[in-house]
Assembly symmetry: C2
Homo-oligomer: 346 residues x 2
DNA sequence: CCGGCGGATGTTAGCGCTAACGCACGCTTT
DNA sequence: AAAGCGTGCGTTAGCGCTAACATCCGCCGG
């Protein structure tokens, strides 16, 4: 007993805790807490002493303990599905950067399957883990549906694509992008434009398809049957071969740059000159696009920016300002390079 | 007092907690804890009742509270530096997948600067946040140095590259990869092989450089002055233009596929036929490499696998089996495609 | 001269969980 | 039959922090 009493210093395996700081500064742990949380009711002199003690002990508050009591963790959850695709990967990167700048951590939950239960499950797990808000990068129909009727106990923002009105959404205007790609080709004198679409369960793929179709229709051009790929260069190649056999094809709008690369390759192998015989437009403007053979005309999406805008929106919601901000939609840019030119029949 | 006694149900804003489950099952909250943690000292019948109560209340344990008391969080930290590069992005993806499969969460801290303090800082923040272990993807010299003398209170594993012996390392044998690339070119009859290297502060860039140089030296070939790029297609293009002006250049080993793409483009523009006049080998085997013009001969690295092996190693260390496993090094594969052929002077 | 008020601080309760011990019970051992 | 021991639970302390209240003190007006 006495022995215990003689050594009041409980040697911790971890760093100093709040009461250690308090003891050294001659105040209670609560005053230390006040200093940390910027309470105004602390005498400047006391504050200084506490700050000095914190420095001396190299004290850092324990976020886990704080999270337990406040229910807030300074952590944002991100639900994503396939981080190797250029879009999601860049978006994630932008999110991370933006979160980091505002002092938040990012915790990632990736989906194993594309069904609704796995999306709900991921949101659930993140929530349980104490995140303050969630960003969802899951631009396909199932996810959007699931998101629309998921129980939302904490703020959620969808990035890239999502259900129309259920949650705030930060996205690029896919329809407008597809329209300007198609219009660009039409303006070059092509009678019509073929389309290599993305997987039909991807919202973006559908929107690009819609933009393409409507532009063709309103221009009175024939609407060819669209082909459907899986975003990969391989799919673009396979589909490109099909297209290369049809001499009527002079212009193709491909739903992303990787598939466009494959298409470029297929055309080249088939002896179809690009852009002289066939013009091709991609979508995304990946960093490599200017170095394709030929350099690819494409639609630029700023994923990085989208990520950071998503974070800012989410943070605003969390901080309680806007209860349900509507989100925002950015216009993409057409980047004209060497893969498109006037129609050979013009 | 009596009023309080009458309403023992404290309506919670969040879900049920352990004692709610206990109350419903007619046991103490501790017994619920035992059931959850699989203690053997619970009667099967009691266990069933607890399980039923959990199901009825849709109870899920609070990981934050658990983390506070155990000091373990089922969360792994990942320190990364630029997730848009193919390598780190894929590795991160592999890590995420592997972690997810074993029930761990991933929390990401990306470095803003490439100096040592920011690496130490990132590790620190992750640690504070309660992660159980950390994976570092920071394949450049500064980071390796910082890692080597960082205070390691929790298990750390380096992935892709790191300090030789300070921490367990999971990596691909870069030197061997560079050697097989260079040897491939030499075997095709090229007198020597030029090199477009990565940034010199990247460990991988140096190792590839070393492998290239040593192969040339041991073959008695002349060692040209290597060029240094920043991994981007643009750099590959700029450097490729330089190389294209020198008619002596018939074989180039480029340190990654993106730069190789730029080099391909530059050669093409300069009218240098590939592979007939100039052969080019890349490194990484990104998914688009087979669709370049021409399809790129390259060295395949399995990043995804590396990520998951990193996680497994880390988990083994955390679980306390191997205290300091040495890590492992995988051999990369040479993938021969159409960008290389026999020397035009052969 | 005293009640009152508000600024600066301390004390007390938890947040939801696990660890450590306590204790009754039934069974074996000497 | 007394002592021992393992099983199946309950009780009690925290983990490190914040929120809410309690307390002290100096200064004001009535």
């Amino acid at each position: 007993m006495d022995a215990d009493f003689e050594k009041p210093i409980p040697r911790r395996r971890r760093g100093a805790v709040m009461s250690d700081v308090g003891r050294l500064a001659g105040v209670s742990h609560q005053t230390v807490s006040r200093v940390i949380n910027g309470s105004s009711h602390v005498r400047p002199e006391t504050r200084e002493r506490v700050l000095a003690a914190m420095r001396e002990l190299d004290y850092r508050p324990n976020p886990v303990a704080r999270a337990l009591v406040t229910g807030r963790s300074n952590t944002l959850g991100v639900v994503t599905f396939d981080t190797t695709l250029y879009g999601p990967a860049s978006t994630l990167c932008g999110i991370e950067r933006a979160a980091h700048e505002t002092g938040y951590f990012i915790i990632v939950a990736s989906l194993k399957a594309l069904d609704r239960s796995s999306l709900v499950d991921a949101i659930d797990r993140l929530q349980l883990h104490g995140v303050d808000g969630i960003l969802v990068i899951a631009p396909y129909q199932e996810a959007a549906d699931a998101l629309a009727d998921a129980p939302q106990r904490i703020p959620i923002v969808a990035v890239e694509a999502g259900p129309p009105d259920a949650v705030p959404l930060v996205s690029v205007d896919q329809v407008a992008g597809a329209m300007s790609a198609t219009r660009h080709l039409l303006d070059l004198g092509h009678e019509t434009v073929w389309h290599v679409a993305g997987p039909r369960d991807f919202l973006e793929a559908r929107q690009r398809l819609d933009g393409w179709r409507s532009t063709l229709e309103s221009a009175g051009a024939e609407v060819p049957v669209p082909l459907e790929g899986d975003w990969s260069a391989r799919a673009g190649y396979d589909l490109g071969r099909r297209l290369s056999r049809d001499r009527a094809v002079t212009a193709v709008f491909v739903a992303n740059d990787q598939m466009a690369l494959g298409a470029l390759r297929a055309m080249h192998e088939a002896g179809r000159a690009i852009p002289d015989e066939v013009s091709i437009v991609g979508f995304d403007d990946i960093p490599e696009a200017p170095y394709f053979t030929p350099p690819l005309t494409t639609i630029r999406q700023d994923f990085d920016d989208m990520g950071s805008r998503g974070v800012r929106l989410l943070l605003r919601t969390i901080e309680g300002r806007e209860p349900a901000a509507p989100g925002s939609k950015v216009q993409p840019d057409l980047i004209v390079r060497a893969s498109t030119t006037v129609s050979p029949r013009g």
